[in-house]
């Protein structure tokens, strides 16, 4: 797996110098601006993506969820194995950020200082990135519904990625996601990863966002051998016999209590620690193993790298003060699928609970009117649970969330509307309470999520 060296042309060098100089100046004034050097370089030479010198191996990681985690673990593993590796872990995953990363791996004379680059790529940027870099390996973690405004639907994203792919690229794909699994063409070499059936899993899909229900070959209704969430699971077509692809690299025998799993690949099986018990992270771990296999890393080395993984920084915090748990969940507004995963978690926590919800899109508060269609793509039905005593809804679009909750079956008398996104932390009663959930979005994490968390802590400490 070695690519031919691109010639270093004067215009390329000029663009790289302009980009590197910009990066140096930004660092001198204490700014990160990881996409700005790439932006400047592209202004000098718009065709730079197809001309910039590349290291001998290019790996691109994309997907709706898990691409950052997968990229970071993969780059770390390669680094630990002695590979000189570059990655955009600290930078933008759009075209400009990727150019910045590629420039970082070059000397001022345009020669590569790294062996391999692992690039996290925003899936919508595929058309702007893939034809230029023609990656040796493309890893796709999954493709599920995302922002309606930005991503439309996962089949559209799959089309964008597929139509930008080279037939020379080896695809590392999620076998348990039929949209991802069908990326590329028959000409692409493909390696699948997946998670074997676990004992207590459902075979009946539920929820509002199921994007694969019929056979891609004959349109017959599919049967689910395993259903996990959205369209993630293993299917069979009872009409034509079509099945989810067999996964070459698999996690199996997942034992949450012992914190272990079996990693099966290349006719060998190894017991590894579970990096955490979230199934999405298990998929990320197996995706890394599959990518390392494709990159020629021996099985023993892969196992050793995965065995030393640290749990990823989580978007979930859980603390207990005076016997009351405060659970903070990042509930990504505008993305119904992500909200469903957060909502699903709430009823699993034992005891009497109160939920504080402020998940408006902060960036659209004053200059737009948020398109709230996405809240009907999220399973608010999980919150119609008898153990949830009250749901406080804050923010500008609170009335929309309240209506959605009621349509989902939440008793309207349990819904409390508060204009402020933070005031609910003062209004809730802490008596007879086992857990309180602080739900916020990405864009209001600092302005709402943090103060709510702080106020809840203060009130619980005062109560002790």
């Amino acid at each position: 797996m070695t690519r031919s060296v691109r010639p270093i042309r004067a215009r390329v060098l000029l663009a790289v110098w302009a980009g590197k100089l910009t990066g140096t100046l930004l660092r001198l004034v204490g700014r990160a601006g990881t996409h700005v050097p790439g932006k400047v370089a592209l202004a000098v030479y718009p065709g730079l993506m197809s001309a910039i010198p590349l290291p001998s191996r290019v790996v691109v990681v994309t997907g709706t969820n898990g691409k950052t985690t997968t990229t970071n673990i993969l780059a770390d593993a390669l680094h630990n194995l002695g590979v000189r590796v570059g990655s955009n872990r600290a930078g933008s995953n759009l075209r400009e950020g990727i150019i910045s990363t590629l420039m970082d791996g070059l000397t001022v004379f345009g020669r590569s200082t790294i062996d391999t680059v692992v690039l996290e790529m925003d899936e919508r940027s595929a058309r702007l990135v893939l034809p230029g870099v023609r990656p040796d390996v493309l890893v796709c973690t999954n493709l599920t519904r995302d922002s309606i405004k930005r991503n439309a639907h996962p089949e559209y994203i799959a089309w964008i990625v597929s139509s930008a792919l080279s037939e020379d690229t080896t695809l590392v794909l999620n076998a348990d996601d039929l949209i991802t699994a069908r990326l590329g063409t028959e000409a692409n070499r493909r390696v699948y990863f997946g998670v074997d059936a676990m004992g207590d899993e459902s075979r009946i899909p539920h929820g509002v966002a199921i994007d694969v229900s019929i056979c891609p070959i004959c349109d017959h209704a599919l049967e689910w051998d395993v259903w996990r969430f959205n369209h993630i699971g293993k299917v069979t077509c009872p009409s034509c016999g079509y099945r989810s692809p067999w996964a070459d690299v698999r996690a199996s025998s997942i034992d949450i209590a012992r914190g272990t799993m079996e990693l099966a690949m290349d006719h060998e099986s190894t017991t590894l620690p579970l990096v955490n018990d979230n199934i999405v992270n298990v998929y990320n771990e197996v995706a890394v193993a599959a990518a390392l296999t494709v990159l020629g890393v021996p099985v023993n080395d892969i196992a050793a790298q995965l065995a030393s993984l640290k749990p990823p920084v989580t978007r979930f915090a859980d603390e207990t003060i005076g016997g009351v748990r405060i659970l903070r969940l990042l509930t990504k507004g505008l993305v119904g699928v992500a909200c469903s995963r957060a909502f699903e978690h709430i009823p699993t926590i034992p005891g009497r609970k109160v939920v504080l919800m402020a998940i408006d899109e902060a960036s659209e508060r004053f200059t737009e009117v948020e398109n709230t269609a996405w809240i009907y793509d999220a399973d608010y039905e999980y919150l119609a649970d008898p153990t949830i005593a009250q749901i406080f809804v804050g923010g500008i679009r609170r009335h929309d969330h309240a209506l959605r909750l009621a349509i989902a079956g939440v008793d309207p008398t349990k819904i409390v509307l508060v204009e402020s996104e933070t005031e609910a932390a003062d209004l809730i009663s802490l008596d007879d309470l086992d857990a309180v959930f602080n739900l916020h979005s990405v864009h209001n994490a600092l302005i709402s999520g943090n103060p709510v968390q702080q106020r809840l802590r203060e009130r619980l400490l005062e109560k002790i």
Partner: protein, 248 residues
């Protein structure tokens, strides 16, 4: 009377949360029965009474399947529209019933059912997103909703629309006329979902579907509060960008 709602092809017509239109309608029509017709099934409306036929948003490939499955029933659909059966086709569902759907990037140009005289052009690299606020004859309060679509519809200027946009665009960037309205057929590219987001319109629709009883909108107080807040925001000019307004 027991109202019967037929949801066409829910396995493929389920994007953008729009099927909540029917969930909300059913909650507002006590005793209503929802009949879900799969992509490989013969629609119920072909041979039995249906009070409202619903088709929701689809992917591009899903839209082609819907055209394929509904084409044999085109004359029956036209007959039902003529006789006053209620239809609600949202987002790109309406386009199925036009003359053609063309998509250069995905390399197809296929005939629709030809019930309505318009053509649809799908542009995968020029997605339109924006808000719409407009009026219809039978409801005093404005209709509000959102567009988030790859396609634009072109038709004769006098073809009857669902609403006239006071703000935002209609069937395409150069007309205020949005959607299609023929008798009780309502086709609109608005998402939201439309019926959840427009309680006064939904009450009017309930009366039309079942004139024998007073409309009882589910969760009316919450729905009106959400509607009022949205209309308040939609009325602020600063919240409208040039890109989402009509090209004049």
């Amino acid at each position: 009377m027991t109202v019967i709602i037929e949801m066409l092809f829910p396995e493929i017509a389920n994007l953008h949360g729009d099927n909540s239109n029917i969930e909300y309608l059913a909650q507002s029509l006590e005793g209503a029965r929802i009949h879900r017709t799969g992509i490989n099934d013969t629609p119920r409306f072909v041979s039995e009474r249906v009070d409202l036929v619903y088709l929701g948003p689809m992917t591009e490939s899903g839209q082609l399947k819907a055209i394929d499955r509904l084409t044999p029933h085109g004359p029956r659909i036209a007959e039902l529209i003529e006789s006053g059966t209620h239809f609600l086709f949202t987002h790109n569902a309406m386009e199925v019933l036009g003359n053609r759907v063309s998509n250069a990037e995905m390399n197809y140009d296929v005939p629709g059912l030809g019930i309505f005289d318009f053509v649809t052009t799908v542009n995968m690299f020029n997605r339109y997103t924006g808000k719409v606020m407009g009026t219809i004859d039978e409801v005093a309060q404005p209709i509000v909703g959102y567009k988030s679509q790859f396609s634009m519809v072109s038709s004769a200027p006098d073809a009857p629309g669902f609403l006239t946009a006071d703000r935002g665009i209609g069937r395409n960037r150069s007309t205020r006329v949005e959607g299609v309205r023929v008798n009780n057929f309502i086709g609109t590219s608005l998402i939201g979902p439309l019926l959840v987001m427009n309680p006064y319109f939904t009450e009017s629709l309930l009366s039309s579907i079942d004139p024998s009883r007073e409309p009882t909108l589910a969760l009316r107080e919450l729905a009106i509060a959400a509607y009022d807040a949205r209309v308040h925001d939609f009325n602020e000019s600063a919240r409208w960008s040039k890109a989402e307004l009509l090209v004049t």
